[in-house]
Amino acid sequence: MFTAVPKSTSLFGDQMRKLVLLGGGALVAIIAAVVLWRPSSAQTQDPVTVARTLTAADTAAFRGPTQPILFRHDLHAGQFKMQCQYCHYSANVSSEPGIPSMQTCMGCHLVIAGTDSTNQAEITKLRNAWRDRKPIEWNRIHFLARHVHFPHDRHIKALGATACATCHGDVTRMPQVFKVNNVTNMGFCITCHLERGVNRDCTACHY
């Protein structure tokens, strides 16, 4: 009439050691995380540099969203050394950077038709758009939530005219612009503000 107990996970038995070690380890890890954790601040990795002339096939290789027209920042800003503010005309006078009107593009491209087939193809797109009075709908790359107010002018004044790269990366080496820093992430802003010891008041940006 004696019967044996079914074997079972034994809290009050020798299975315990593992559990204790696991549990303890986890606890320590969590505490460590809480105290030490910080999001890694922005690291700009080297964008691909490509030849000035290229064929349509190459474009697939570029990072970042494909634009209706392959506008090459690496040529305009890089090799031709055009100032950012030439096109982004209000970046240093307003909170909004401003994107160039079609007129601005045509200002040059009435005469400049491009050196190789690919470039010509792209420029033709532009000219057609201008002819048909159809503004080009660019794909947006950098977003800020609408409850954030980021005055470009203030930052350019504080960091200098070449400061664009701090957030947007080195576009002079980007054939097609892609997001280098996650500017949508408040941590990105705060890290910079902390490093420079500047205003961290909430209503500096949120109102």
Partner: protein, 445 residues
Amino acid sequence: MATTAHESTQTHADVTRDVIGTLSAPGKGYYILLASVSTALLIGIITFIILLKDGLGHAGYNPPVMWSVFITTFVFWVGIGHAGTLISAILYLFRSPWRTVVYRATEAMTVFAVMTAALFPIVHIGRQWIFYWLLPYPNARFLWPNFKSPLVWDVFAISTYFTVSTTFLVFGLIPDVAAVRDHVTGWRKKVYGMLALGWKGTDEQWRHYSRAYLYLAALATPLVLSVHSVVSWDFAMGIIPGWHGTIFAPYFVAGAIYSGVGMVLTLLIPLRKALKLEHMITDYHFDNLGKLTLFVGCVLFYAYGMEYFVAWYSGNTFEQTTFWRRAFGPMWWAGWAMIINNAFVSQLLWSKRIRTNLTALFVISIFINIGMWFERYVIIVSSLGNDFDPWAWGVMTPTMYDWGILLGSFGWFGLWFTLFFKHFPIVAIQEVKEMIPMPRRKGAH
């Protein structure tokens, strides 16, 4: 050790048999119960989904009344929990003999009540999907919660209370689950075997176990008092006349225990019948529960009186207006519902005949539940409705959505409790045995 008639008549074997008997296959009634609580829960869930979709506007909020039924129900459920821990922990420390039979039920009630309450802060906030911002977790914004806010105190108090009371319940269950394991067969044996965590009741195990249980009780005791104090500070820390009271902590704790005991009676009286535990849970226990109710009832009576006295004595026009309107303003009916149900009804319990008459006791317990819900409703809504700036005064009337959520909360609580008492010993086997002396060869020593 104070013993009473029924214990000597029973042997350890009887206890095991009776209690484990309650886990036998359920009848039709049980399934009806299960169905009804599930329906209530479903209604609650649907209501919540609508609120989540459109916003809280559907509920009857009427600024300046920005808290109403949801917070009321939250406080109500937190309060319910307290009787459980009081009976299982505090009375344990006081070695009160009559608790043993009822404490398991009350403790289960505590855990489920807190589980219910814990849902409400989420239901209540405007942007439910980011409720976790109240927790101090590392985030991309480098932001931490505001530890000066009573609401964050609440988060910690409630979660601690939930964790500890759950631990307490589970810990107490282990030996009983082991007993169940040893008296069932087939797959259930396997399952309970798992849950028993290899408990065998050896001397060594008992040695640590009973000590640990003592310390858990010792920790739970101040906790139970603190939790409702913290909840009361949700209001007392506000400057609203009718909230800003120094007596709020004890006042709320008393109220909590009062409502808790009320709920214990509401649950225990039918349960005793359904599970045929008449010879275990006897008049003796209800008599004592009745006395407890009477006691906290009187404390509450005093607190009510004090509130009005202080309002009058302070000479503060805001306080005075608030309390005048609480009794004679647009919400007079709620105000009086609270005072009559709580302060006056409990006075009936002076009579032993009523204390031992289960029907009467049951009816009273229902009154208490309603009364205590209204207490919170009155404190929250009527105080907010007419505070400092008369121009902004307003009266809110609850809508279907408020009631839907309230109903759902009962469904949620009921579902857990119903499942519990059919699958786990509702009476603490080992503690009851502890009180029954074991047979001896030579006569008693």
